[in-house]
């Protein structure tokens, strides 16, 4: 029983079948105005201190948010765009903090000035480590990031020159109490804006496209001619840079540097959770995730007091997000077609 078909119709059918597999993506306009308005408000906010009422707590919360936005967005460059999860990313936080902190102690140069150098140092270390650990696909990278964190934790705990577990106190800035937080506020805000802009630029560049290809199918990306190893290493180095910078500023803000401020696993967990909760791989996701998580943490502490449950809470939240909400806020809204324009930067 042969079916009667001629050669031409088969060939035409084959061509049509292949073309229908292609899909076309549209383009959108960006909500730049909304973002600039928000930034203007944030830039002007410290002026409330002129009112005489003490806004130090909100200032602190805001600069904390800016700092974590930086770290989560940086993490997102390798973790979200390329899909390579760093579970010890705050190692660069510590490196930056100690670098600038020690320079401050010895030569009196303010971390505000040395922060970019701290970032650069973190970046170089990230680059070097990445060359070793990003050579192969698979779980080795994730494991190595935890090991790296442990190595630096042990090193700093035992290095008497930097004070070991006790750490080192940094000189104080001489400013009246209502203005003492403000320089840090602006520093963190500036770094956060810079980081997010860089993140946006990367996402919409050929480099970012390559990273995304790597996250989808690294083998195909490699055979398409992308030097996957270099792309990953550079992404890792860039993501280390901003984290190193905020580390430098944070140490100065707290006025001391100690291993258990920078190098604890809870910070690493929080960075990852913020990026995922907001939507990893998106530009706005880490921002949303940071705000939500910090607000959530504050609410929990206000209600339950104890920070004992901090780790438990973070863990439960992480499980819930991963199991039921893996695309995060921004990702889920985007899929449902409901993403508000001011969050749509992808």
């Amino acid at each position: 029983m042969s079916k009667a078909l001629d050669v031409d119709s088969v060939l035409t059918a084959r061509r049509d079948y292949n073309t229908q597999l292609a899909r076309v993506v549209g383009s959108r306009k960006r909500a730049v105005g909304t973002v600039l308005a928000i930034l203007a408000v944030l830039a002007a906010f410290p002026l409330v201190q002129l009112s005489g009422i003490n806004f130090n707590y909100p200032l602190h919360m805001l600069l904390l948010v800016f700092m974590y936005v930086t770290m989560a967005s940086s993490w997102n460059i390798l973790g979200g765009y390329a899909g390579y999860i760093s579970l010890g990313h705050n190692v660069f936080f510590g490196i930056g903090g100690y670098f600038s902190g020690m320079i401050f102690v010895f030569w009196g140069i303010s971390p505000f000035l040395t922060a970019p150098l701290a970032g650069l140092l973190a970046s170089l270390i990230g680059f070097g480590v990445g060359l070793i650990t990003l050579r192969v696909r698979g779980p080795s990278f994730i494991i190595s990031t935890i090991a790296l964190l442990m190595i630096f934790r042990i090193l700093f705990d035992n290095w008497q020159f930097v004070g070991g577990t006790g750490g080192v106190t940094l000189p104080l800035i001489d400013l009246p109490v209502e203005w003492v937080k403000v320089p840090y506020y602006y520093a963190f805000l500036a770094i956060a804006v810079l980081t997010v802009v860089v993140s946006y630029k990367i996402k919409h560049s050929k480099f970012g496209l390559g990273l995304r290809a790597i996250s989808q199918d690294e083998v195909k990306a490699e055979s398409a001619g992308i030097d996957t190893r270099m792309y990953k290493v550079i992404a890792f180095a860039i993501s280390a840079f901003f984290v190193g910078m905020v580390g430098a500023i944070w140490g100065d803000y707290l006025n001391y540097i100690r291993p258990n401020i920078f190098l604890i696993i809870l910070i690493a967990a929080n960075i990852v959770l913020m990026a995922i909760l907001g939507g990893k791989g998106t530009v706005a996701g880490p921002i949303v995730g940071t705000i939500l998580l910090i607000a959530f943490n504050e609410a929990v502490v206000a209600y339950f007091g104890a920070t004992q449950l901090n780790i438990l809470g973070t863990g439960v939240l992480m499980l819930l997000v991963l199991l039921y909400f893996p695309n995060g806020v921004v990702g889920s809204l985007a899929r449902a077609g409901n993403l508000p324009r001011f969050l749509d930067w992808d």
Partner: protein, 243 residues
């Protein structure tokens, strides 16, 4: 003659990707060797995987000996009497030849019977008998194919499905392999095979089927398909002579 295997309106694809098979039909009569040919991406392997249970179909029906089997997991399909040898041969590389044969009879609970059948099979395949303790991963391509086919004899299934059995093998080894397939047919087993090398496949089969664009386009006695000029132009390259 009642059909051994019947596939109706099958739709299947991988993950959330497009459907590779679109309302595909297939009928296999018992006691025959049937060969599926077609271009890459047509869905030949997908069809076998769907029947074997490795790939759950999106819609459609698969009937085996009068029972519906679509959606059953692979181990259940095996219990019913269908054995599938995938393209990669499906061996356990770090297990020895003997252990691989033992895995072939995994669903046999009777250990003595299993051992007996293993010894039986080793008698028929002297090449394997010489290598019982050798790791399957270190065998040559032809020896691996032989091992995977020997494994099917342990269970004596009613239907054996083979995905590109001649892939990567030298012509002489391909010859040996098809001799084994003919022996299997003589023992009463039905064979459904997919071949990229359409000439070899069709010349060794009773019935042929052409799968293209996710559908069965042509079918008929294998020698007729082989000789049909349209088939020759589309799938065998122009001016091809049957080997």
């Amino acid at each position: 003659m009642p059909l051994l295997l019947e596939v109706k309106d099958l739709v299947a694809g991988y993950g959330r990707g497009p459907a590779i098979l679109e309302e595909t039909h297939l009928a296999v009569e018992p006691g025959k060797v049937q060969c599926l040919i077609g271009p890459n991406g047509a869905g030949k392997s997908t069809l076998l995987r769907a029947v074997s249970g490795l790939l759950p179909p999106r819609s459609g029906e698969i009937w085996f000996k009068g029972k519906r089997i679509d959606g059953l997991p692979p181990h259940a399909v095996l219990q019913l009497g269908i054995c599938f040898i995938p393209q990669e041969r499906g061996l356990f590389p770090r297990m020895s030849v003997r252990e691989n044969l033992r895995m072939g009879g995994f669903i046999l609970r009777d250990r003595t019977e299993l051992d007996r059948r293993i010894d039986d099979v080793l008698q028929q395949f002297p090449v394997l008998r010489e290598r019982t303790s050798q790791r399957a991963g270190s065998l040559s391509g032809g020896e691996q194919q032989m091992l995977s086919m020997a494994r099917t004899l342990i269970l004596r299934p009613e239907l054996i499905m083979l995905d590109e059995p001649s892939l990567g093998l030298a012509p002489k080894v391909v010859r040996q392999m098809y001799d084994i397939i003919h022996i299997l047919k003589e023992r009463g087993m039905s064979i459904l095979l997919v071949e990229q090398n359409a000439v070899v496949g069709l010349s060794n089969a009773d019935w042929g089927c052409v799968l293209d664009l996710g559908k069965t386009l042509f079918e008929g006695p294998a020698c007729e398909i082989l000789a049909d000029p349209r088939i020759q132009e589309l799938y065998l390259g122009k001016a091809q002579t049957a080997a």
